[in-house]
């Protein structure tokens, strides 16, 4: 165990603080969730600035537009801490930078890496993840959307659903059945699909938050060049699982949890009723302390997992629990905030009075979506039990 800050790290922290101080005006506020729709120009400018300083895409190789730094645990901790403390956004993340880019780095060919990584980390290409279908959710390998060869192209027909940001996306990475003769898992390919291609129709779906974060996507004779297959044909299941691994870590990021916890503490210290501050209520305080311990544990857990990653060590069962544990904590943080606001916790209108409740209610609902999305809690438990603990697989129905 070595978490000592060298003078180099102290200097790095000072540099980050100075950066946040100098750029207070253009800094974006940290928010939960992906909202690529608002103030896009501002978000892109902020992202460019972050990459330029190496505060985003820090470890992405230079030739693909990143900062090219070697992975360094403490630098990452410092960035998390300082941005959280300032309440400032870490820049554009989500499906493209956090899920597709690591997948391409692992499985993409040189041309794909050169074409897509740089504009993706800059936020210029927005991606959506086309996995789920009406008949293929938890049983993801049951996808039916199919692609048939025709010259240099595939022709795609079928439907995806729950596709987050498809209404804004330029590209989709999708899981498509290309080998109808092969077995369920061996018949899939990982395809990069331009969303402007004729034959694609996107229909937004309203969600419980009152917004339309996700969509249905319909494909009618959509032509996609064969060179857009990542990895080999029929390898889609393996590659999709690489993306899912990154998604699960993203959804339960301990930096996000820490940021939420800081905002929760701030709320509890400020929210006053006649009987005092929310934090003075013993029941509320006890719940806060339980969550604080959990967030701290997740922070330590994430440092441990990062260390395993850097050293190339297999983390075992510990590597499978992040999504299940983290998403639940996030939901509970929001739940406590709402309770602290008591009756006014249900406000959901526009305007300043409703702002705290509205934000936390949206967080509460959105985090429930994250408990379901990316593989439900029950599926996570199956994975932990079967792959981690070696319990027998489900007998086939």
């Amino acid at each position: 165990m070595d978490l000592s800050y060298s003078p180099r790290h102290e200097a790095f922290r000072a540099e980050v603080r100075d950066f946040l101080e100098r750029h207070r005006a253009e800094a974006l506020t940290a928010l939960l969730g992906v909202d690529a729709g608002t103030a896009r120009e501002r978000a892109l400018a902020w992202q460019r600035l972050l990459i330029e300083h190496g505060y985003a895409a820090r470890t992405i190789p230079k030739e693909y537009g990143g900062h090219g730094a070697a992975p360094d645990l403490l630098e990452r901790v410092i960035l998390d801490e300082e941005f959280n403390r300032a309440g400032v956004s870490r820049g554009i993340g989500g499906q493209g930078p956090d899920m597709l880019v690591p997948t391409l780095l692992e499985h993409g060919n040189e041309e794909q890496k050169r074409s897509y990584i740089a504009p993706t980390i800059r936020g210029e290409i927005i991606w959506c993840q086309g996995y789920s279908e009406p008949g293929a959710g938890s049983d993801l390998a049951a996808v039916q959307t199919r692609a048939v060869e025709d010259g240099d192209d595939f022709v795609v027909n079928g439907q995806k659903i729950w596709t987050t940001t498809a209404h804004l996306a330029h590209m989709m990475f999708g899981l498509i059945r290309t080998e109808p003769e092969a077995s369920k898992h061996a018949g899939l390919s990982y395809l990069l699909i331009p969303m402007q291609t004729p034959g694609i129709e996107v229909r937004p779906l309203g969600t419980m938050t009152g917004h339309s974060e996700f969509n249905e996507v319909f494909f009618t004779d959509v032509r996609v060049p064969k060179r857009n297959v990542v990895g080999r044909r029929g390898e889609g299941w393996k590659i999709a699982n690489t993306t899912l691994k990154h998604e699960r870590n993203l959804l339960a990021s301990s930096a996000l949890l820490e940021g939420s916890l800081l905002r929760l503490i701030d709320l509890l210290e400020r929210t006053e009723t006649e009987s005092g501050r929310a934090i003075d209520r013993p029941g509320i305080r006890d719940r806060l302390l339980r969550l604080q311990a959990r967030v701290l544990a997740m922070r330590c857990h994430s440092l441990r997992m990062l260390t395993c990653g850097i050293k190339g060590e297999w983390p075992g069962t510990a590597g499978l629990v992040t999504k299940l544990a983290g998403c639940e904590i996030s939901h509970q943080i929001a739940g406590l905030a709402i309770d602290a606001l008591a009756e006014t916790g249900i406000l959901y209108g526009e305007g300043a009075k409703a702002q705290a409740a509205r934000t936390w209610q949206a967080h509460y609902m959105f985090s429930l979506g994250l408990i379901i999305g990316g593989g439900t809690a029950q599926i996570q438990k199956n994975i932990i039990a079967e792959r981690g603990l070696g319990l027998p697989r489900e007998p086939r129905a």
Binding site: M1, L73, L289, A293, H301, L324, Q380, N382
Partner: protein
């Protein structure tokens, strides 16, 4: 920079577990636990020989001069094997108290005896967490009087008795004026006692009897991390037992571990355990390396590990069905080990309230 155990620490854990599993298996634990003093001289000397008792003792005094993370690694192994050894009181809390409050002479004398396995030291600290009428110690003209109702790692040669203002007395167990009454608890792998002191002359007043609240705080922080590590080891083993049983026990023609209700209980235990393991490591590391966070993190580690430990040992018992409820099956030793850990050095809610105080919330 690196978050995890070193090669040496993994080795320490491995060799300690290997020794305990071979030489102090559960059948032997039960024998030792059935004795009045609950003590096994052979085990104790082996722990001295392996450097476990002197893990925190400086090399100059015959110890290994290591840090609290190394001690936590040892405690995890001891908890895992429900070892009947008074490690917490002697090798951790007494050593930290001596280090923080003792004079040079007291340190070198007592620490070298601890490292050599020549002395066992109990800790009478319950009253620091929950004062009950008529309990606690006070000092008058160098003499100690008072009562402590739940001394940890009792059946020792001497007892550390702190006063609320932070003076620490080391009292011989057979000192005139001291009454020691063994107390039976759920956990027979460790010993507890109630003691009454009437004008007892301590063997030592650490540091000449000056009030040292900071030293007490350090002693408690270290103790809490070690209790958390003990609960970690015990929970880890209880989970493994549940998983092994779920794979082998067949009902309805299939292993019960293929039923999701059972499988998901196991997954929930693992999902609680793994992040908590990282928290224990961090708390132990912080004790030596990040003083500003040490107390808060120790309180959180203690509370959290005992909460998830409680969940794990009860769930592991459930997975075992009826057999888990029997005395003949060993699982209840782990259940009770965590049960005792949970109440020591401040129950989870007391530890959380302490964490709240440290952050200015009460």
């Amino acid at each position: 920079m690196d978050f995890g155990l070193s090669e040496e620490q993994r080795l320490l854990h491995e060799s300690l577990v290997r020794y305990l599993e071979a030489e102090v298996p559960v059948s032997r634990v039960r024998e030792i636990a059935a004795r009045d003093d609950g003590h096994d001289p052979a085990l104790w000397s082996k722990l001295a020989e392996m450097g476990v008792l002197g893990v925190l003792v400086p090399e100059a005094a015959g110890g290994s001069g290591l840090g609290l993370l190394d001690a936590a690694v040892a405690a995890t192994a001891l908890g895992r094997c429900v070892a009947p050894a008074a490690f917490l009181g002697t090798a951790v809390m007494a050593v930290i108290a001596l280090r923080e409050a003792g004079s040079d002479a007291q340190r070198s004398e007592w620490m070298s005896r601890i490292a050599a396995g020549e002395v066992r030291i109990a800790v009478a600290a319950t009253e620091l967490f929950a004062r009950r009428a008529g309990t606690g110690f006070h000092a008058e003209s160098g003499k100690l009087s008072g009562r402590s109702i739940l001394v940890l790692d009792a059946c020792a040669d001497a007892i550390l008795c702190p006063t609320p203002d932070g003076r620490i007395a080391l009292v011989a167990s057979d000192a005139p004026g001291l009454g020691v009454e063994p107390v039976e608890t759920i956990d027979r792998t460790r010993r507890f006692a109630e003691i009454v002191a009437e004008n007892v002359a301590p063997t030592e007043w650490l540091g000449g009897g000056e009030a040292r609240p900071g030293a007490l705080r350090r002693m408690i922080d270290a103790g809490r991390v070690i209790v958390a590590a003990d609960a970690l080891g015990a929970s880890e083993r209880a989970l493994e037992k549940a998983v092994a049983y779920a794979r082998e026990r067949v009902q309805f023609g299939r292993p019960i571990g293929s039923f999701q209700a059972v499988k998901h209980l196991c997954a929930e235990m693992a999902a609680e355990l793994e992040p908590a393991r990282s928290l224990v490591w961090y708390a132990a590391h912080a004790f030596d390396a990040i003083p500003a966070e040490a107390s808060l993190v120790a309180a959180h580690a203690k509370a959290h590990l005992c909460e998830i430990g409680t969940f794990i040992v009860r769930t592991a018992t459930e997975v075992h069905g009826g057999i888990g409820f029997t005395d003949a099956h060993d699982l209840h030793l782990w259940f009770k080990r965590v049960g005792a850990d949970r109440q020591m050095l401040g129950s989870p809610d007391a530890a959380r309230e302490d964490a709240a105080r440290q952050q200015g919330w009460v």
